[in-house]
Symmetry: C2
Subunit: 506 residues, 2 copies
């Protein structure tokens, strides 16, 4: 590995150090010190973003697309260094990190194409009609960028949901400068990605305030960032507790701003009777694979399966237990996450009516799969069982009958995803569930697993609270750009005063 982090913040194109620091301990090797952000530096970063907005917010779509593509190029150039430091920091395997890097650059290039296409501008024109009663004026509308955006890196995707991840890519695509508060679990990865973005900005001749990275392990830095009066929106992927605290701060500002938080989800899977009978054990093995992949550290991890009680669902649970029993412990993203996982697992195991099928010992930073079963009635009686335990923990809920399965669907909190496993003869059964599930989740799947969120135009990664704090938005896919736009209408405005994108309309 040739990249050696210096531990500084990137602020308006300059690397700046601070006296206070925090330690980052890689999976193997010595701890590295990183500077901790303070109020002055946060103010400097946000003011630099505001300064950049006056040019970047008015740059052509071609120039912004060029910048996004250049960021992707600069990330690829640093590919092996990125994989090395990210793997050391997160414990994630190299192949996974290479895939995630491809996802990250793919996402940047998708947004470059998306803004060149221009449909996202939602341009509208109502021509003047002097003969109408009352006479109607010439109106032109376009979606404009909102100003500086704060982004919080996620622990579980050091690349695709962090420094140059989907929130940053969509905000930059919209025309909004970004200030990232990096996740303290992978500050070195943040640093090398920030270096790539700064290099791209310089090569494209873009104001360096367009991107800043603040390192920090304290809550104070995040709070100061979201309450800065020049920040106009926040993109966040993380825990319910942390996200809700920041959401509250955003709502209580003198000028409230939108907080786009993607928080927790248990991503329930519903097994229809025929699918269970025909291929229950296959589904169980697929589920075990999805549940334990990446030590279960995905927002879309399928934590709960709801099935009808009976010998077939017992076989399903046994097959899942067998598959999970073969998976050993692996390092989780941080020791704190591993501890929270064991705590959550203990809470589930200790709940009345819960039967433990798999619960392997693990310690320190490692986590190992766990599997439980519970009756539909006990599940309904203990709402705590439907809360997310971040990690490879599965619960098979054995509903007494179809009615109880629907009651469970009705009682669900908001989810990122809900999945149906069904065969042809299950359609009617599924039809009674789909309307219930559609109100609970941003994405409904048939016969698959929700891990692996395709970056595409039709993707929705969001959903009713607490899956996200804005059910109208998504943080993955091209629709994510809409979070950082606002409609502006120009009435009877001379062409010379219109934004570039409206000049040739009408």
């Amino acid at each position: 590995m040739t990249f050696k982090p210096h531990g500084k913040h990137l602020i308006g194109g300059e690397w700046i150090g601070t006296d206070i620091s925090f330690s980052s301990t890689p999976v193997s090797g010595e701890p590295i010190e990183y500077c901790e952000a303070n109020d002055d530096l946060i103010d400097q970063a946000v003011k630099s973003a505001e300064a950049a907005f006056w040019t970047y917010g008015y740059a052509t779509r071609r120039d912004r697309a060029g910048f996004l593509n250049k960021i992707a190029d600069e990330i690829e150039k640093r590919g092996s260094d990125i994989t090395a430091i990210a793997s050391a920091e997160t414990g994630l395997p190299e192949a996974r990190l290479e895939g995630e890097r491809g996802r990250t650059t793919g996402q940047l290039r998708l947004f470059a194409r998306h803004i060149l296409d221009g449909d996202y501008l939602d341009r509208r024109h109502d021509a003047a009609n002097p003969d109408a009663t009352p006479p109607s004026p010439d109106l032109k509308m376009v979606q404009r960028p909102i100003g500086p955006v704060a982004v919080f890196g996620a622990s579980n995707f050091p690349l695709a949901f962090s420094t140059a991840g989907g929130d940053t890519a969509s905000a930059l695509a919209a025309g909004c400068p970004v200030v990232v508060k990096g996740h303290p679990a992978h500050p070195g990865t943040g640093e090398i990605i920030a270096e790539a973005i700064a290099a791209a900005a310089e090569k494209c001749g873009i104001h360096p305030g367009v991107f800043s990275l603040l390192q920090g392990a304290s809550h104070e830095a995040g709070s100061a960032l979201v309450t800065h009066q020049l920040i106009k929106a926040v993109g966040f992927t993380g825990s319910l507790a942390g996200g809700k605290a920041l959401f509250d701060l955003c709502a209580r500002r003198d000028e409230p701003i939108p907080f786009f938080g993607e928080l927790g989800s248990v991503n329930p899977n519903f097994l229809m009777p025929d699918a269970l009978a025909n291929r229950g054990e296959d589904i169980a093995r697929g589920w075990a694979g999805s549940l334990s992949m990446g030590v279960g550290q995905f927002c879309t991890n399928p934590g709960i399966v709801i099935t009808l009680a009976g010998p077939e669902s017992d076989r399903f649970a046994d097959a899942a237990a067998k598959a999970l029993g073969d998976v050993g412990p692996s390092p989780m993203l941080t020791e704190g996450i591993a501890e929270a996982f064991r705590r959550g697992r203990g809470n589930v195991a200790g709940t009345d009516g819960v039967k433990t099928l798999v619960k392997a010992a693990s310690e320190g930073r490692e986590g190992a799969p766990a599997l439980f079963t519970v009756s539909g009635k006990d599940f309904l009686d203990h709402p705590g069982l439907s809360h997310e335990v971040f990690g490879p923990l599965g619960i098979v809920v054995m509903a007494a009958n179809a009615q109880e399965m629907r009651a469970i669907a009705e009682r669900l909190e908001g989810q990122l995803t809900c999945t149906l496993h069904l065969d042809d003869d299950d359609i009617e059964f599924a039809q009674s569930l789909v309307p219930l599930l559609e109100r609970k989740a941003g994405r409904l799947l048939a016969n698959g697993f929700a891990t692996g969120v395709a970056v595409a135009d039709a993707m929705v990664h969001g959903g009713p609270y607490p899956a996200s704090t804005n059910f109208g938005a998504t943080s993955v896919g091209s629709l994510a750009i809409r979070r950082f736009l606002r409609p502006v209408c120009y009435q009877s405005m001379p062409s010379a005063l219109l934004p570039e994108d409206l000049r040739h309309i009408g």
Copy 2:
């Protein structure tokens, strides 16, 4: 007038009375008693809306469009009764109310056409690609209705922003049942409009829970409505204080929901030097007309003009003063509004550096135009002068130079509209202001006045806080429907389980 209000609530198709009541005092005639909503009835109305959602939320666009058009028909049928009671309640002239009725039915019909067109569904399809790395699944996306919506009627538009106004029309168009908390300043108008909606629902065979009207003069009813767990969003037009209180309640719910509030705005007008020199007095007369129309009770009332100090701006102020001096007192919407107007006027008059040009006596429910001038420096030094005074109150701000004019633009709070008055040679001057103003307002106008908000596809009636609580949204125009939609993605879903609108895609 043949319509006699009975004063009851409309809940799920039934007219229901309550013991507690409040008085509504028309401009002339005897007070009428209206029932006051309570928690039980609010719960009943919302549960009825939720029950209706399971059919109405899945009705075809054709059926919903038919319902919207039928509501318009039923309103037109009651045209003269509506005008009579609205005029008695609000003191607004009959011609204005007839125009507003046309606007209201026009709005319902616009949304009917808009949903039939279907572009608002933003349907997206990414076909499966098994050869991609990783293989990508079939994804289909559509915008779906969010569930029951609460709407608050506005005092100043008893028809177009109230019971069957833009919020109700856009929510019903989206597929969301609506519970209206009627404004206590015009409960009889609310009642007859609710009667029209109920008749339309019955004739179209739509679940009666699709629309309820709760009467009430207390804050408690509004609070109980927005905190009901089955309400998924709120549409509101009204005061900053009232709106902010409800916004806070929505943000603090166990499940936070979006509050789409259209609150206060002073709608500044900037006079460019050539326009001032060439036709300052014409603009002054136009401004005076817009400012005093409807006793200044418009959200888009142009309360502030910013111009460059000098003999030409003195002549501008004199011409405005002369035009406003000819306008006598008129009844305002309520006595409370008239009192608040006089209080606000007193605050402005008593601010250091403010010179009074027009300040006619008025009492009780009447209000008369007021006009003041102030230097740019004093305006900047007294932020209170930039707060909305609801009513016919104008301030001419005399900026020392172009730089001070830009400083005033920079310091503005969020606005619904900003207006430029300019001639050909003012373009360059205006170009230095437009980027500043674009960040402050949802609509920018040239050479016109913002009163009279066209209902059109390209209209934006919204803006940064405090003009609205969601800068990404509008409450007028077809884009208003987006507030009540959420994207849902269906992955590899059999056609029989897709919503109607996605079945024939791909």
